[in-house]
């Protein structure tokens, strides 16, 4: 049984449908990367997972449970974390408070997780009392990742985590994604930098026009000449 199983998903905003049959399944512990041209429905697929748009057909199962159309506020209780592409921190809250908010639904002692996050992202520990809005783009991304890790998620959804970051930061982010994945967290990630992303992916999903056009292992997609020609720029 897959951890995340999206079957024949049709969804859109109001009457306008954007997804026209997306299939996506991830086993526990995998990294899945969704790539494709602009407007292919990559980010929309992530948003559909937590009820931000109208699902007309298809289903989403997570960990054996039907979560089709749940609201975004229920995501955390299923231990799914989402890191949006932008506005992904609480700017006037300190770094520490951002992490505390990440653990909002937890009533148990989460200091161990907090220490763990500070271990993965040492700069955050230094700036823990600084408002997150004052940090650099890369550090804000760390806060967003850290916040997402606070519930010890089973699945983490990343929407273009490297968007707007310098190439140096980009490889750092991918390294972090691998590191997070190695602690047992399943990752579903939308990426513009398809080549680098597919290189770390167990599974890749190439979307076009709201449908899967290729679904394979990351490596196979990279080696597939058709995919390379049409989506990876040669």
């Amino acid at each position: 049984m897959s951890l995340l199983d999206i079957k024949d998903l049709h969804a859109g905003y109001g009457a306008m449908s954007i997804l026209k049959g997306v299939n996506l399944s991830l086993e526990a512990g995998e990294i899945g990367v969704i790539v494709g041209p602009n407007g292919a429905g990559k980010s929309t697929t992530l948003k559909a997972i937590f009820g931000m748009l109208n699902i007309t057909e298809g289903s989403i199962h997570f960990d054996g449970e039907d979560i089709t159309g749940i609201g975004s506020e229920q995501l955390a209780s299923h231990r799914i974390s989402f890191v949006p592409q932008e506005n992904n921190v609480f700017p006037t809250l300190s770094v520490h408070e951002n992490l505390e908010m990440g653990a909002y639904i937890r009533r148990d002692d989460f200091s161990r997780v907090m220490d763990h996050v500070y271990e993965i992202f040492p700069p955050l520990k230094e700036k823990r009392h600084q408002p997150a809005g004052e940090l650099s783009g890369g550090q804000r991304q760390m806060v967003a990742f850290g916040r997402a890790l606070m519930i010890e998620p089973k699945l983490i959804l990343l929407d273009e985590p490297t968007a707007g970051l310098s190439p140096m930061f980009m490889s750092q982010i991918f390294d972090r994604v691998i590191a997070i994945n190695q602690t047992g967290v399943t990752v579903a990630m939308v990426e513009q930098n398809a080549k680098q992303a597919l290189a770390i992916a167990h599974k890749g999903f190439v979307l076009a026009g709201g449908q899967n056009s290729y679904t394979d292992t990351g490596q196979n997609l990279l080696n597939n000449p058709d995919v390379a020609k049409s989506f990876l720029g040669g």
Binding site: E73, A76, S77, P84, T92, E97, M101, Y104
Partner: protein, 330 residues
């Protein structure tokens, strides 16, 4: 020395009193704006409503023959605050929540709050009439006259004024600790910062909305009660101070509770000092002045007091639209 005492009595004390009231009102307004994202025009009437709840409770206790060392109105203000908080949540449930859920734009909520204003004014007039009432149902208010060495004039402070200042200090400190230490308080700041992210993070926005109305409603009740204790309770009482409270909110930076406090005192002092008769303070120096001192030299005649917050509002909107504490731009 006498002139200094006059300045303390008429300038500083009044500024502190009116500033405290504005601050208490503006805190609620700014929190509601930060979290629910609309300008709550009915906030002034929430103040009147709260004051009437206090009056009813006080009158009921006085009728039962209860006497306390503190003014009854002040003591029953605390249960009245709780009742007003519940009423505020009720208003939200009945009028604002359905609009929010339907995805209405903020301006629709603003209009709805204007409707709620008119409704509350009507209801209050319907049950209480239009006359002004004394909040001191059992005994006249205590007035302390404190002798100042070297002056024949005495420093005058009334009991409600002292209570108001103490209450404001305690309320501000409590609010600070709530917003920076409590889980729900931090969640309020998180929702104000980024409501979408707050929802994704699993913060229960419903609880945050309740907390906002509880704080806003109870502080509005306190401000309304204190204002009526300082003067008298009239049905249109807080409608008149709605504008200064909005000015205080905007001056302080919309969505910034500390800004609302600063803005409240700033507007309060500007207003008081603008209508203050400066000629009395200047009288000792009249020989050194190059002009003849008129008998009344206030910057703004008392009748035009309401002009001051307007002026502050316009100046702030032109030169610093984010306010002192860098709030949101309207």
């Amino acid at each position: 020395m006498n002139d200094l005492v006059f300045f303390l009595n008429k300038g500083i004390t009044s500024g502190l009193i009116i500033g405290s009231i504005y601050a208490l009102g503006a805190i609620g307004l700014t929190l509601i704006f930060g979290i629910l994202r609309f300008a709550h025009f009915a906030h002034g009437d929430l103040m009147t409503l709260g004051a009437f709840v206090t009056l009813i409770l006080a009158a009921a206790l006085a009728a039962l023959g209860v006497t306390l060392p503190l003014p009854l109105a002040f003591v029953v203000m605390f249960p009245a605050m709780a009742i007003t908080a519940v009423l505020a949540i009720g208003l939200d449930k009945m009028f604002y929540k359905p609009l929010r859920q339907a995805g209405a734009r903020p301006v629709v909520l603003v209009m709805a709050s204007v409707g709620v204003t008119l409704m509350l004014q009507g209801v209050i007039r319907l049950f209480a009439g239009v006359r002004s009432r004394d909040m001191f149902v059992e005994a006249p208010k205590e007035i302390y006259r404190i002798p100042i060495p070297g002056a024949t004039r005495k420093l005058v402070v009334t009991e409600p004024q002292i209570l108001l200042m103490l209450f404001t200090i305690v309320a501000v400190i409590a609010l600070h600790f709530f917003l920076t230490r409590a889980r729900l308080g931090k969640a309020m700041r998180a929702v104000s910062d980024n409501p979408d992210l707050a929802r994704i993070t699993g913060i229960n926005t419903e609880h945050v909305v309740w907390a906002t109305w509880i704080i806003g409603g109870s502080l509005a009740c306190a401000a309304g009660t204190m204002l009526s204790m300082d003067v008298t309770l009239k049905p249109d009482l807080s409608f008149n101070i709605l504008l200064p409270i909005f000015a205080a909110t905007i001056v302080g930076g919309i969505g910034q509770p500390y800004g609302a406090i600063a803005g409240g005192f700033l507007v309060g002092f500007c207003e008081t000092l603008a209508v203050f008769n400066w000629s009395i303070v200047l009288r000792p120096f009249k020989d050194e002045l190059w002009f003849d001192l008129p008998s009344n030299m206030s910057l703004v005649p008392t009748e035009y007091k309401l002009m001051v917050p307007f002026l502050i509002l316009i100046i702030v909107l032109i030169y610093r639209p984010t306010g002192i504490f860098k709030g949101r731009v309207l």
